[in-house]
Symmetry: C2
Subunit: 353 residues, 2 copies
DNA sequence: GTGAAAGCGCTAACAA
DNA sequence: TTGTTAGCGCTTTCAC
């Protein structure tokens, strides 16, 4: 075994490289490379010897050398809005699962919905030569992404069409879930339904609000002034949003929230105000994060599957990478939503009817 | 500008490399390399020309080539227990922040407290030539880590001394926080205090339980049989643990939980059983995840700072990497805990006194 | 089917 | 101070 001096009093086995394996197996390094990469031309006899040597040395290829010569890093980037929002870890987990199964490593970044931070993420990913980027931050700034488009790196965006035909998009069918939610509330007897929106810099926030407005109109319900409030998809934002609603002359009897974090903030704020959910006010979230089932009371919410979203994102990237010149590959994906009724919705209080 | 044909109807600028820059700046590639790496020997005149060329070409170095020749990948690995537990994203965020500030990229993996999964994570990190690994999964299997130790890769472990003098350890001073918690409950009048433990395969679970037992003894309180139940640090586990406690002949009036997720599960289970928190039963968590402040009622919990933990982990890795031959560098770090009193603790119900 | 050899883009040792 | 050059570990022609 090749050994090198390390310090003065210790010898350490040098990390084996392809030459070490070739020497032990008594073949050329080309044969080792072919064997590892599953080239069909290698004879069984040599292949066996090579694998044996690999095992014996506990060898694995140097991915940097590999990437350098092949031009393929086997890295995929995923940019989320904020890893601290439970929606995203769940999304990342699903994405990682499928990516790793296909031999990719993933680079994770949070954009915090900030263009400068996003630019930095993209830059770092470019440096690491990612083979594709899933921008699941729901509020990407197009200019920065040009860097990627310009370098012909596969991209998939959530909820936003970049215009470039080579960029894939995943659309969320919020409409279905939101209509179900409004219908559910109407059937319970609600007519005063407010909406706590997400930050308007996010495409998702705007889409969700539009779908709420459409669903209200469809149900023949008026939206009072100040019943739609911009929040920020955080717990704190939900608290603040609820307080603004409480300050209104005409209070809503039900609140639809742009995401679960907002809804959980509302639950907390209602508790502090001494209001009971759902007896005094009904609350509905959107996302159905794992936590939603465990709030007090458990949250009625519109489910958006992280696993579906993650799978679509990976598939979009894989298609672009594998068939770069096929103009007919699927470029748009749709992820569905549906209402999950739990404990935060009930008929409005009698005096409000 | 160098251009290559791409497809049939489009020409694309080839990604600029160090040679492109050298040619444009009319210097050698060595000078470009020196300039980028901040070598002090380059003259201002040439340095200026080089930076100008770099800017003009929007060039950045190929990290794979760099890693290959320098042997430094500028990758750090971080292995957490489960990214889906909010404690960990908060930890990752802090770790990433400081790592990126120092020019490192991070590779994130969840071990799910499973030795085989952990082995796979370590393997993937080894392939990417990480320069250090923070194993913050609180339940690492020593045999797998030998792979890292053997290759002289800096390691830092949470809550576990590997025995190898080159492996750093971060210890958590749960003792302080847990004693505060027990003292707080005793002062409120509680004497029957149960403990919902974490999974025993985690070192943290065992340490926390031991500290609970010590604190109880110190307070002169007896621990009844079946008052210590192994859960799994999840919401579901907390629900199950609470139900087991309710089935007991002598029920505790207060429950200390091994982590916040368990405590939140207890809150949910109590709600379902029709018990009020804190009037009927007091609950204390451990971690102080962001959510803890927003439960209903807000959770009294023992705070363990993710930022402190992340900083200690990075610092341990940096010290090992930068001074590999200095036997006197700090190898042990201590992260403190303290009680945060919120709304889930109150005096026990009268009939239980 | 197998091997020799030419790089991939970069850093660092050595020359000048 | 600057340039020339030899690899880093691997994949991939191109001969045989």
């Amino acid at each position: 075994m090749v050994r090198i001096r390390k310090g003065t009093r210790k010898t350490v086995a040098k990390t084996p490289d392809i030459r070490t394996v070739a020497a032990l197996a008594k073949v050329s390094i080309a044969t080792v490379s072919r064997t590892i990469n599953g080239s069909p031309v290698v004879s069984d006899r040599l292949s066996k010897r090579v694998w044996q040597a690999i095992e014996q040395l506990n060898y694995f290829p140097n991915t940097h050398a590999r990437s350098l010569v092949s031009g393929r890093s086997r890295f995929l980037g995923i940019i989320v809005e904020n890893i601290t929002n439970p929606f995203f870890p769940e999304l990342i987990q699903s994405f990682e699962e499928v990516a790793v199964a296909h031999g990719y490593e993933i680079l994770i970044s949070s954009s915090n919905s900030d263009a400068a931070v996003l630019a930095n993420c993209v830059r770092r990913m470019l440096e690491r030569k990612v083979e594709g980027v899933a921008v699941l931050s729901f509020g990407a700034e197009a200019p920065v992404l040009d860097q990627l488009v310009h370098r012909d790196i596969p991209i998939v965006l959530a909820e936003f069409r970049l215009g470039d035909p080579k960029v894939s998009t995943i659309l969320m069918d919020y409409n279905t879930g939101i209509r179900e939610a409004i219908k559910h509330l109407v059937e319970l007897g609600h007519r005063k339904i407010a909406f706590l929106a997400g930050p308007y810099k996010l495409h998702s926030a705007i889409t969700r609000e539009n779908d709420y407005r459409a669903a209200m109109e469809e149900a023949g319900l008026a939206i009072q002034k100040n019943w739609v409030i911009e929040c920020d998809h955080t717990l704190k934002g939900g608290v603040a949003g609820f307080e603004k609603l409480q300050a209104l002359a005409t209070r809503p009897t039900a609140i639809l929230c742009s995401n679960d974090m907002t809804a959980i903030g509302v639950l907390r704020a209602a508790y502090i105000e001494g209001l009971r959910v759902p007896e005094d006010v009904s609350v509905i979230g959107l996302d159905d994060i794992d936590f939603a089932e465990f709030t007090v009371p458990p949250l009625t919410t519109i489910r958006l599957s992280r696993a579906d979203l993650a799978r679509a994102a990976f598939e979009a990237l894989r298609l672009q990478a594998e068939e770069p010149d096929n103009p007919k590959i699927q470029r748009e994906f749709l992820v569905s939503t549906n209402l999950v009724v739990r404990g935060t919705t009930a008929p409005p209080p009698a005096e409000a009817k």
